[in-house]
Symmetry: C2
DNA sequence: GTCAAGAAGATTGTCGACAAACGACAAATC
DNA sequence: GATTTGTCGTTTGTCGACAATCTTCTTGAC
């Protein structure tokens, strides 16, 4: 009953809001909609050939995952990522993931270890494959998600999912962190090894270091960019 | 109850969704709507004398603060608090607040200390005042909120606000944790003292202990209740 | 008496329309 | 010329109606 002409229209009636949200997330993360850009409800609705109601709800969803900002009577905007917001985000991730991997190592290592190893293998496979930035970032995040998933605390995973998209956005705004994707994949090895040894402290230290390095690179890139174009 | 039709103040229509949300939060936390209860949009809309649209948005807001659960095609329900969800929540709070108070002590103690002291004084004042459970819980949470607020990481505060209402809901479902409200107020003293000394480790240890004790009491209460009525 | 299929009722999902608010630009005032 | 005021087009805010879906109750077969 709904026409499927235009653009990238998802068209099963089931879970429409979720599909609209996903479409928007993909568009934002693909760089199709730059940070700061306004997201007019009627424009999106027209493009997807549906009414504003589901679009509005989808945008509210994106808001709670931090990709989008809402201002009363002004509408939704793609969130602008600043160096401090990214630094704060990485500090939170350090908290979350060190705690998660501690628990994982202590109570769930045998189940989690194969999954982590498989994901690292996937990272190396992708590294040999090509240089699809989005794919590398997603696979990296999936590794970190696995850690939260197997932490035994559902809320850890929930929190991770809440901040994952924003992290991705930050990484994609920056571009490439590592010149060699194999090097990036390799930075995960010490974490897995520590888990394999059953050494929770070492695992926590390894992931702390891993994320801390990433944070430094990210903040460095931001400073470079700001100097590059001081507007 | 609401829907100010009398008088001439229809200009105050600004932030309607927020006001609806607040009304609902108050109702839930006051126990007016028990956990598991369905929140029918049209019923609420009728009671507040407005249409379903703003009600729906308000409910989505509550969802992101964890007070309410949404199921596709079934609607919104007041979230049922379980012993594991509460335990997970308290573990997350331990993570968050130990880190927050570390940072506070190291970089912001002089500004934060007066605020913390004032809040403890307020706790004691309320303890002498009477036994309004909701007031005690709110004042307690405000103390913990101050810690996140002065942590220097905006995201810590954001996360705290996200889980604060759910914590309150859990506490109110249980009822009273401490027999003597003065005792409850007193448990905050070691935290403030450690901050005053500028000892971040000690402060972190103090709040870790503080929250851990609360967690034990909460889980204990839940187990007692479940035994009481095994359904 | 139990169970399944289906009708009836209630609730959510989506829509198009209108009202209110905002932002930009033109006109008026000093 | 600078500031204020007025107007207009665009976008969000809210609404009532209808379609799709779920729940409950009825009915009938076994």
């Amino acid at each position: 009953m709904l026409a499927e002409h235009r653009g990238f229209v998802p068209l099963n009636r089931d879970g429409l809001v979720d599909r609209v949200a996903k479409t928007l997330v993909d568009a934002i993360l693909a760089g199709g909609i730059p940070p700061g850009e306004r997201l007019a409800e009627s424009t999106i609705a027209k493009q997807m050939d549906l009414s504003r109601a589901p679009v509005r709800e989808a945008l509210r969803l994106l808001e709670s995952s931090g990709l989008v900002e809402y201002r009363t009577n002004r509408g939704f905007f793609v969130k602008v990522v600043s160096v401090t917001s990214m630094a704060d985000l990485y500090d939170l991730r350090i908290l979350l993931e060190t705690a998660a991997i501690r628990r994982l190592t202590e109570i769930n290592a045998d189940v989690a270890l194969p999954a982590l190893r498989a994901q690292v293998a996937e990272l190396h496979r992708l590294a040999g494959e090509g240089d699809d930035l989005m794919a590398h970032v997603s696979a990296d995040m999936q590794f970190h998600r696995l850690i939260c998933e197997h932490s035994g605390n559902q809320r850890f995973l929930q929190l991770f999912d809440q901040i994952a998209n924003e992290t991705k956005l930050g990484l994609l705004v920056i571009g490439r962190l590592y010149d060699d994707p194999h090097e990036m994949a390799g930075t995960h090895d010490p974490i897995v090894e520590a888990v394999a040894l059953g050494d929770a402290n070492r695992a926590a230290g390894a992931i702390d270091y891993h994320i801390r390095v990433a944070k430094e690179m990210v903040t460095q890139h931001f400073h470079d960019q700001q100097e590059g174009k001081p507007e």
